[in-house]
């Protein structure tokens, strides 16, 4: 699953998950003439500029009309095309939610909603550009698939899987360059989680580029005699219920880690399932009911308690909870 020497962070190649999308959409464009892109004045940022150059007749500049963009995408999908509509999560899906809800989701239109900039990892642009509510919003929409990749390689496979899937999909990519630590040949499937590292004491269920921070935390914890399982959970909806259940039964303690509000995020999705099926102590790493701010993304992660240091703290908390309960 993991590449060799994955723990040597300084030696790893770093690339944005949005770049994985950009590469994959270009490949898909060559294979399928029905794939079209709608762009809201962000071709370079969303990594669609290569597609634009290669397939100008299938690249539709929508300007800063995100509501119009969602509806045009719906109309194109109803006419047999496979539109990928691309922007930042704060603008789409948050800025055009009612259009996505009523005209894409309710129509079961085959539209892929792509965000290149999500979470506080957007960095220097600050809070208005840092979507930390989008997972909660999108996973509440009936029939919506919600996906987010842990690295560049997974982003590519995820984009290809989304194109093959018939129906609305929300793809949540990230801006910064982050370590590429999974193998090219790892399978990706909508509705599947992957155990990246085995462990018996606690499961860290995580998504996005923070998966790497969770791996680093797990490696450190081994020195303290704590063996954490790392579960990469790119398919927030549909959830891989059988893997999550198996993991809960084995470790009997879970923490979740994501670059998103704790309220309603990936961790909430896990908690909803676990509390009904196999309740175990849980802790959540995520944004704690606040807006982000400007700053280099790793510094923001430290400030907002989203790095390996805080993951380790939460692991210790959940283990304490487990002992009290038993």
């Amino acid at each position: 699953m993991l590449i060799e020497n994955w723990h040597q962070k300084e030696k790893l190649e770093t690339k944005g998950t949005r770049d994985g999308f950009g590469d994959a959409i270009l490949e898909l464009g060559e294979q399928n003439p029905n794939i079209v892109i709608l762009c809201a004045d962000l071709a370079e940022s969303t990594r669609t500029m290569n597609f634009q150059q290669k397939f100008p007749e299938r690249f539709f500049e929508m300007g800063i009309t995100e509501q119009n963009m969602a509806l045009v995408a719906a109309g194109m999908a109803l006419s047999g095309l496979v539109p990928f509509m691309c922007s930042f999560a704060v603008f789409s899906p948050i800025g055009n939610l009612t259009q996505i809800r009523a005209s894409i989701a309710y129509n079961q239109a085959n539209v892929k909603i792509v965000s290149s900039h999500s979470g506080i990892s957007v960095g220097e642009d600050g809070a208005t550009h840092q979507a930390t509510e989008d997972i909660a919003i999108m996973r509440a929409i009936p029939g919506m698939v919600v996906l987010t990749p842990c690295d560049f390689e997974e982003a590519k496979k995820m984009t290809i899987a989304a194109a093959k899937y018939k129906g609305p999909v929300y793809l949540r990519f990230e801006r910064p360059k982050t370590p590429v630590f999974t193998k090219k040949e790892n399978p990706f499937e909508i509705g599947k989680a992957q155990i990246l590292k085995d462990g018996k004491d606690v499961a860290i269920i995580t998504c996005g580029s923070l998966v790497y921070e969770a791996l680093l935390a797990a490696k450190d914890l081994e020195k303290e005699g704590i063996y954490a399982m790392i579960v990469n959970n790119p398919s927030i909806k549909p959830l891989d219920k059988s893997t999550i259940l198996e993991v809960a039964k084995k470790t009997k303690a879970i923490i979740t880690v994501e670059d998103h509000q704790i309220e309603g995020g990936m961790g909430s999705a896990i908690a909803e399932f676990i509390s009904q099926n196999f309740p175990v102590p849980m802790e959540f790493v995520g944004i704690e009911d606040s807006f982000g701010e400007s700053g280099q993304f790793e510094k923001l992660r430290a400030k907002f308690h989203l790095n390996s240091y805080f993951i380790k703290e939460k692991v210790k908390q959940v283990l304490k909870k487990g002992r009290v309960n038993s």
Partner: protein, 275 residues
Amino acid sequence: MDRIQLKKIANQIRQDIIEMIAEAGSGHPGGSLSIVEILVSLYFGGILKYDPQNPHWEERDRFILSKAHGAPALYAVLSRAGFFDKSELLTLRKINSRLQGHTDRIKLPCLETSGGALGQGLSIGIGIALAALYQKKDWQVFVLMSDAEQEEGSTMEGMLCAVQYKLNNLVGIIDANRFQIDGRVDEIMGGKTIKERYLAFGWEVIEVDGHSFSELFDAFEKSKTIKKPVCIFANTIKGKGVSFMENKAKWHSGAPNKEEEKFALMELKKEAEGL
């Protein structure tokens, strides 16, 4: 089909609307009655290409009811055109019905889109029109909007987009019945300048009496020759055909009681006798 026949159909559709909404106990009679001639001219006047036996026929023209609260009128027209049995009309708004209060394409697949949230139909139509151009198809797209719906920001985004892409396969029709829930469209938000806005954005505007078949046909014919997006601004009467509903914001939504239903049907039947 001659004008008398079209008028007879319009009259029958109006009776259907009254019966459906009365049976349902709720609905939007005013804005359903105002669009009858527009729908009848499209579906029975040879404007739209369609095949009720094959509702997803690739070459069909696409009609989108953006003001989807007018759904009873569309359902009555679609059933009369042969898309489904007339007996289904009285299931409107009832549990397990395919005829939802606002249109649902998954339940009723002969619809082009689901609808109900205002301001969305125009840009869906733009997406379909762009897909036609990209796929080199010559279907036409017709979007029927309300005048109040022009207040929605998304409608204005669509107005820009249609012109930017020089869509000559898109016709927007505005049912200008002049009333919305809280009162008169021209007193609520920007309703005095709808035509001016379309012109300023670069559309061709054709103004017609939305209850006159000859004016509607002339406008549809003319729209085919214009190489840019066309807005047919159709002046209509909210509640048209039922005297106590005409020009009353109150009848935007609501259902006639038994007595009102009887009176409305009596008026319409009397009108039919005169045709």
